[in-house]
Each structure stands twice: as C-alpha cells, then as structure tokens.
C-alpha cells in the first residue's frame, strides 16, 4: 500500500535524513555523492509537478520505477493543476515555522516561480552543478545557467529544453501565418479559428510574451525588470494587437482553453487550426497518441521564438534532500534524456551535449526518430531569451484586467 510505505518513510526519516542535514543545508559539495546515495536509499520523494499532461505523468511514473530499481528511492508524483500550488505550500510552511519535513521534496519549476522561491530563500542549494551527470550538460550552447534572465547558480537542475512552436494541421491550413501581424490578418480572414490558453496559464502568458517580442523587435528593456522600463510605450503595440485579435478568436474570446493540451483536442475536433506549444516534440507525441490528426505539423515564427529550460528544484525544508538529488541527477542521465526526447514518450529537447556523451549514448540519441511533426534543430533556430520574469507577471495581470472578465 502506498500509504503504508509513506508512513514508514515518515517514521524512518528523522533517523537517516541525508548525510547530515546540517552539512547539506548549505548545498552539496563535490565529492559527497556516495554519502548522498547511501542516505537516499529508502527515502520517499514527493515530486510536485503539473499533472495535466498524461504523457508527462507516464514519464514521471517511469522515472519512479527506475530510481526505485537503481537507488531504492520511492518517487511519488503529486499532480498539480498549477505549479503555484506547491510554491504557496512551501511558503505557508516557512511562515508557519515548519523548517523540516516539508510536504514538497522536488518541484518542476521555472521562471517566475523560481524567481519567487529563490528570492524568498525557499530553495535548497547550490547542488545542481555538483551532481555527477552535470558533466554531460551542454552549458556552452544551451541556456541552462540562467532562468528567465536570472542566474540559476546551482539552485535548480535542468532536465528538458523547451521552445515555442505553433502546431497546425497541414491538411486544413497549408500556409500558416509566420509572424504576429500575419497571424492577426489571418485571424481576421478566418474568425474563430485560433485561440490561446487563458492567462494566467503559463502557455497563455507565453503567447503574450511571444507576441510582445515579435511586435517590439526584441526590445532590450525586456531583459530588465519591468519597473525599469517605460511599460506603456513598450507594450502599446502588444495591446493594440490583442485588442484587434480578441474578437476574431475562437468563441470571440468569450471562452478560452484552460491549458495547452486542451488546444490539441480543439485541433483534433476541428474547432481551431492553430495552437501554441512550448514543446517542439509535443505534436509528434500527440499524433502517436491519436490526439492530433496525422497531418499535424509545427513551425516557428520568422523572427524566432522564445525558448527556455525546465528545471527541478528542492525546497529548503525537504527532509529527503538526498533522495531528491538522486532523482534530479537521474533526470539528467543519458538514459532519462533519451527517453524524454523520444516522441513516442515525451518529445522533450535534451539538455545534454552530444559531444560530451559516450559513443553508445550518442548512438542512442541519433537512433531516435524525432517524429514527423518535429522540426530539426536547424529549423527551430536559436531560441530567443525569455524576458525578465516580472514581465510575465505584469503582462498576465494586465491581460486579466483587460480581457479576463467579459461581462
């Protein structure tokens, strides 16, 4: 029984919580790995991760099986409908003075949530760059040491690369619009055939940021906090665009899909022709799962699209930090990365550098068929950097005030 296990683990942890909780409180030093492995065995790690995608859930379940076999770590996926739930949980624990035995041991995180947790000392670290598998990570070419312009400093470990792509059905829309102005014209000619997830959903907020970057020509002010910029001047084109676009959205903008995957169903149902995605491999995976028509394809905008890395972080009050680090390390392993990149499984971009891998591991990556709807790295192009996280917060608030309430 999973509860019996959980209770046993709870009872057992005070006796064997990490190499020594005190020495770990400042992070992981290189060379301590064997002690971490020893302490991790038998621990139960609660990984708080968004649970709205069945493919991700299946992948996390597989990770659980593997770390159980390999390291004796039990992984429980706490399926969130919103990552903010876990952030608020750690925050309430900090305010209630619960500095050990927190409910969250590992959290799938990036951007504003990372900024907020790091800013409030809610994270354990640094640890990521001392993990054994860090040696394979492509720190030279992939943006894994900053998260939305903020330095990561080892407080979270990368496990997937993401870049904005648009999904369309080639059979219905042979020539999709390749810039935001073109999207606006196309929507005006084809009302009701496009929508985006409703902000504050992160993908909806990402659409706002993507539109802002595309329309403002990648204004350098976006790399700095929003307070430092002339907000109205930078965003006036964006709001004019959104105001013009909204009446031509699906359901005239009176309803929105609540999450990204909902858009795939809308395409499959023939309700919309175009959807934004943060995962270049998502469309291929969805075709394999019958969730998209076989004629679905992806593309990026002419001016490029935003990219970022997905990370896992460990809250400061987790009492199974060793187990959590074992999971974070496993996620960066070639074995897990190949599986995550397989479009039949997840279709996420790898964080590893092919040059640093052994020949066998490299061959495993090369043997992957990335899927009919996945763009090659050359077609994806270099990802545009994320704006400072404060932009996402501000744009989301503004959108809600302008369009979140219709009546």
């Amino acid at each position: 029984m999973k509860y019996a296990l959980a209770f046993t683990a709870l009872l057992a942890t005070p006796a064997l919580a990490g190499p020594d909780p005190e020495s770990l409180s400042d992070g992981l030093a290189p060379g301590e790995w064997q002690a971490v492995l020893d302490a991790a065995e038998g621990q139960t790690v609660y990984w708080n991760a968004w649970g709205g995608s069945t493919t991700t859930n299946a992948f996390i379940a597989w990770v659980g099986d593997r770390v159980k076999e390999e390291y004796g770590v039990t992984l429980e996926h706490v399926k969130l409908s919103d990552t903010a739930d876990a952030v608020s949980r750690v925050l309430s624990e900090q305010q209630a003075g619960q500095d050990t035995e927190g409910a969250v041991d590992l959290i799938w995180i990036n951007g504003p949530n990372f900024a907020s947790m790091k800013g409030q000392d809610l994270l354990f670290g640094p640890f990521a760059e001392s993990l054994p598998n860090w040696q394979y990570v492509d720190v030279e070419n992939k943006d894994v040491q900053t998260d939305f312009t903020l330095p990561v400093e080892g407080y979270e470990a990368p496990w997937a690369m993401a870049q904005v792509v648009f999904i369309y059905d080639e059979a219905r829309l042979p020539e999709p619009p390749r810039s935001m102005p073109a999207l606006l014209d196309w929507a005006a000619a084809n009302p009701g055939r496009f929508t985006f997830p409703q902000p504050p959903d992160f993908l909806g907020s990402t659409f706002l940021k993507q539109a802002l970057i595309d329309l403002s020509g990648d204004n350098p002010a976006l790399a700095k906090p929003v307070e430092a910029a002339d907000y109205d001047a930078v965003t006036s084109d964006l709001w004019a665009f959104i105001d013009a676009l909204t009446p031509n959205l699906w359901r005239q903008g009176r309803a929105y899909p609540q999450t990204g995957p909902r858009q795939l169903q809308l395409i499959a149902d023939g309700e919309v022709d175009l959807a934004i995605s943060f995962s270049p491999g998502e469309a291929s995976t969805a075709i394999a799962n019958n969730e998209l028509p076989p004629t679905a394809r992806t593309y990026v905008l002419e001016g490029g699209t935003i990219g970022n890395a997905s990370f896992v972080a460990i809250p400061y009050n987790s009492s199974v930090k060793s187990g959590a680090m074992v999971v974070a390390n496993f996620l960066m392993s070639p074995e897990a990365q190949v599986r995550a990149q397989d479009p039949e499984v997840l279709g996420y971009g790898t964080v590893l550098s092919m040059d640093k891998l052994s020949e066998d591991d490299r061959a495993a990556f090369e043997a992957l068929d990335l899927g009919v709807a996945t763009l090659s790295p050359a077609e994806l192009g270099k990802a545009l950097p994320e704006p400072h996280p404060s932009w996402m917060t501000r744009l989301t608030e503004d959108w809600i005030a302008r369009h979140g309430v219709k009546e």
Binding site: S116, R254, A255, N290
Partner: protein
C-alpha cells in the same frame, strides 16, 4: 463463572459523537475562514475591499445566484412533473429504474459526459453532421462554458433530478399524498393537475431540506463549475478555489472574504427561496380554490414531465457511453460519428497508474461509509432503546454540512490544520468525508429503520431476548437490504468528494475524482474518459452489491430481499 454483563448502549454517546462530526468541522472551518477575512493572520490589508475591487465580482455573484436558482427550480419542476404525471404507471417505474443508478454517478463524471455530448464538436453534433447540419467543421458556438452558465445549469439539473426524485419517493410513506391524489381524481381532476394541487404540497414540506441542499450545493459547487461553467469570469466558488491556491498568500484573505460572501449569498438565496415558497403556495391555493380542473393542461404537463425526465436520464447515460467510446477510441476527428478504430491502448497506458488511485479511493470510501454506517445505526438504535426521536433541531444539524457551502468552511479547516502544524493526508480527508457521508447515510437508513414492525421486538423481548440480542439477531438481519443501500449511498458520496480531498489531502491524497478533475484541465479525452469511468464504476459497485447480496443471502425469503 458468571457471564460478563452485556455492554449497555448509552443514551447520548453515539449521537453526541455524530453531532460533533457534523458540527465541529463546519464551526471550526467557518471560524478560521472568518479570521483571515477580517485581515488577521497576516493575510494582507482589507480583504473585503480587494474582493470588491476584483473586476469579476459582479458577474461571479450573479452567476452564483442565477445558476443556483435555475438549477434548483428546474430540478424540482422536472421531479414534480415526473411524479405528477406518471406516478403509479409503468413509465414511472421505467424512469425510476433509469434515474436511480444516476444518483451514484459522480458529479464530475456526469458533467464531463455532458460536455462530450453537447459541445459544438460533441457527440450530438457529430451524429448529425454533416448529413443534417452541413457542418464539416464544428460551429463556433459557445455552448459549454457559456457566459450565462446554461451548460452548468443543465449539468447540475441532470444530477439533482435523481436525488430529488428519490427523496420524494421516500417522503411518500410519511404523508397521505396518495390518498389526497386519489380524492382529487374522484373530484374530477386529471392525474397531473390533481397531484400537483393536493399531493405535492404535503410532499414538498417533507423534502424541503433536501431542496435547500440542492440550492446551496448548486450555488457553490466547484468541480462541475470547473468543467461546465464559464471562465471569463468563473463562478465565485471556482475563483475562491483559485485564490486559495495562489502563491501570493495575501490572496488567502481575499479567498476567505469571498468564502464569507458566498455564504451570505447562499443564506440570502435560501431566504429568497423561502419567500418564493410562500408565493407559490398562495398561488396554488388560489388555483385549487378556484375549482378549475385545467384538463387542457394535463396532457401537456404529462408530456413535458416524461420528455424532461427522459432527457435527464438519457443525457447522463449517453454522456457515460461517450466516455466509454473515447476511452477506447483511436483517432476520432470531426465530424465522424464514431472513431476510426478502437483500441485498449488508453487503458493499457493508464491502467497501471489508475490502479493505486482506485485503491486509495475505495479505501477512503469504504472506511468512511463503514464508520458512518456504524455511527448512524448506533444513533438510531439508541433512539429506539431510549425512546426519543430526532426533532427539528436535530434535522437541521444533520443537514448543516450540506447547507453550508463547502467552499465557505473547508479553506478554514485547511488554515487551522496548517496553524496547528497538522499534516494533510489520509486521515483528515477521511474525517472530512465523514462529515458529508453521515447525513446521506442517515437519510438513507432512517426511513427503513423506523419502518420495521416494532411488534417483532416486543415478541422477541417477551421470549427473553435482551436488547443487544434483539439488535444483532433481529434488527440487523431484518435491515440487511437497507443497511447495504445506506452503505452504498455513503460510499458513492465519498467517491464523489472533490474539494475536501483536494484541500485536506494537501495534494498527497489522490482519488479518482481529484485525478479526473485534474485531467479535465488537460485535454486528453481518452484519459479523462478512462478515469471518469473508473470513478463511476467505483461509486456504482457497492450499489450492485447492495442489490445482489440480500438476494443471495435470503434466496428463500422473499420479504427480505429488499428493493
């Protein structure tokens, strides 16, 4: 060696424990919702001002009132029309048989099934396209999640009609409604009109509290509103749930203020409903006194009752059927009426993850239903032995957890647990489920309990059987069928709980319901279908057992097979 004295059943212990389980969570929860709403506990400045400043407060308030009133009025009207037009007929037996199992279909599953059915790309549109409608792509119509909440009203009505119909049937034995209706017929009234004018008022007095429960529930439901309700803005209860989950802790105060506003709305709505009752009663009396027989109306009322009753039953059943289909569908594009191919792929993919969640669900529901049944049976037996009956105050306490919106007191309970440093988990979830399971178990059991002929016990006592022996050897076997049904009702109630599991489980307790609702935020219909079906199966299973067991155990005693 003397035998140990049999344990006496104290008069007040079990009733007191039950009352505590019903009132303490509600009372403490409300109190700890109040504190942050008034700005204590570090929840920021003036939560009520911030609530009033939320641009969606007006529409969300209107939605809460309009959907709640409409769903309740519609459910009650359909229930009354079915009973009025068709009581005692074969059509009524058929409708009853179709509707009863729907009572245990969890709200979320029914709502999701309805969405699959009526969306512009739903099964109805697929079945009629393109040959009838000419649609090759779905029309851009806002049907599900519409701003007026019509889909939400439909979804709630489909679930509340079976509940009210069963309540109405149970109330028949406590009134002389059938005799009234017969007298009306002999006076020349047609069936439906006569029943509505004479039998319904007495029956309504009996089911008033259940109707209030429906009103309070419909105004503040979270899971159904998340699936069928609008989002620009959402209903008040959904918005409160979102504030509760926001990383910005000062929004907890706003959530608490919203919860109190929701409570005030429900209380005001109940008062308003009470006023409408008086007006309706006056109009009904005037109509009856006028002596008009209204024969023309009779056929229309009967047809309407049958049509709406069938629509309710079929919409839920077809919704379930479309979930079955989606869970085994290959690619299924619009406007195909059926999927390209069928496969067990979805079940193979999700089966291994579904199994432990199903086990947790069954464990919680089984324990909650069992505890509730033991408590309720104990209370009823104490009543019988010590010769007291639950008064009006008792009934009110019983209905308290159902009348106070969950969203108004569960957040407070969560805050209380955090403040005390208690860990969310299985036990808090179980306790909170008990608060909602006990009332339904008592409602289901008390009628049959009191209906047992007391002369059996007098006879047994005169033969020398002590109270405990009478209870174990006579009362329980006699009540086997209703006991099992009450257990099944409690089980189904527990399976369907969303908000208590979410808030008091702290995310660590996943049941089929929390899983199904979480999945609906994603878009994988095949997975949602599988989980919703598993949820429905979990709720229906005990009902099947409750029907089957007495028939097996009492195969040779017709009168004890129940149902």
């Amino acid at each position: 060696m003397s035998r140990p004295a049999p344990m006496p059943l104290p008069r007040a212990t079990l009733p007191a424990l039950t009352v505590a389980l019903l009132t303490l969570p509600v009372g403490l929860g409300l109190f700890f919702t109040l504190a942050p709403a008034l700005g204590y506990m570090g929840t920021g400045e003036a939560p009520f001002m911030r609530l009033a400043d939320w641009p969606g407060i007006g529409p969300a308030t209107r939605l809460s009132l309009s959907t709640g009133f409409a769903a309740t009025a519609l459910s009650l009207a359909i229930t009354a029309l079915i009973a009025a037009g068709w009581h005692g007929t074969r059509a009524f037996a058929l409708l009853h048989r179709l509707l009863s199992p729907l009572l245990s279909v969890p709200h979320a599953a029914a709502a999701f099934g309805l969405a699959l059915l009526i969306a512009p790309s739903g099964w109805l549109a697929r079945a009629l396209s393109p040959w009838l409608t000419g649609w090759s792509t779905p029309p851009d119509l806002l049907i599900v999640q519409d701003s007026a909440g019509l889909a939400l009203i439909a979804g709630l009505t489909a679930k509340e009609v079976p509940f009210l119909l069963l309540m109405l049937l149970a109330a028949r034995s406590q009134t002389r409604s059938e005799a009234h209706a017969r007298v009306a017929t002999t006076l020349g009234y047609a069936r439906a009109v006569g029943w509505l004018l004479t039998a319904f008022p007495a029956l309504y007095a009996q089911i008033r509290l259940p109707v209030y429960v429906v009103l309070a529930y419909s105004m503040s439901v979270v899971d159904v509103a998340m699936i069928l309700g609008p989002n620009t803005p959402p209903t008040l209860s959904v918005q409160i749930t979102r504030w509760m989950a926001d990383p910005d802790l000062t929004l907890r105060g706003v959530a608490a203020a919203g919860a109190l506003w929701q409570l005030a709305l429900v209380l005001a709505a109940l008062a308003g409903w009470r006023g409408l009752e008086a007006l309706t009663a006056r109009a009904g009396t005037a109509l009856a006194m006028s002596g008009r027989r209204l024969h023309g109306l009779n056929t229309a009322l009967r047809a309407l009752g049958l049509a709406l009753g069938l629509a309710v039953a079929l919409s839920v059943l077809a919704g379930l059927a479309s979930q079955v289909l989606w869970s085994v569908a290959g690619y299924w594009g619009f406007p195909d009426a059926l999927p390209d191919d069928l496969s067990l792929r979805t079940w193979a993919r999700h089966g291994p993850m579904l199994a432990p969640v199903a086990l947790t669900t069954l464990l919680i529901a089984g324990l909650a239903a069992l505890f509730a049944l033991a408590l309720v049976t104990g209370c009823l037996e104490a009543e019988a032995r010590h010769g007291f009956r639950m008064g009006a105050g008792g009934r009110l306490i019983l209905y308290l957890p159902l009348l106070i919106p969950q969203i108004a007191f569960l957040p407070g309970l969560q805050i209380l647990m955090l403040t005390l440093g208690l860990r969310e988990g299985l036990w808090p979830v179980l306790l909170s489920h008990l608060t909602f399971v006990i009332p339904y178990t008592l409602i289901a059991l008390s009628g049959p309990f009191h209906a047992v002929d007391s002369r059996y016990f007098t006879a047994a006592a005169s033969l020398g059987a002590a109270p405990n022996r009478r209870f174990w050897r006579l009362r329980l076997p006699l009540l086997l069928a209703p006991l099992l049904t009450a257990f099944a009702v409690g089980f189904a109630v527990s399976v369907g709980q969303y908000l208590p599991t979410l808030l008091l489980g702290g995310g660590r307790v996943t049941t089929l319901t929390t899983e199904a609702v979480a999945l609906t935020s994603g878009g994988d219909r095949r997975a949602i279908g599988a989980y919703a079906l598993a949820q429905t199966a979990a709720a229906l299973l005990p009902f099947a057992l409750a029907l089957a067991l007495p028939r097996l155990l009492f195969a040779n005693r017709k009168g004890m097979r129940g149902g």
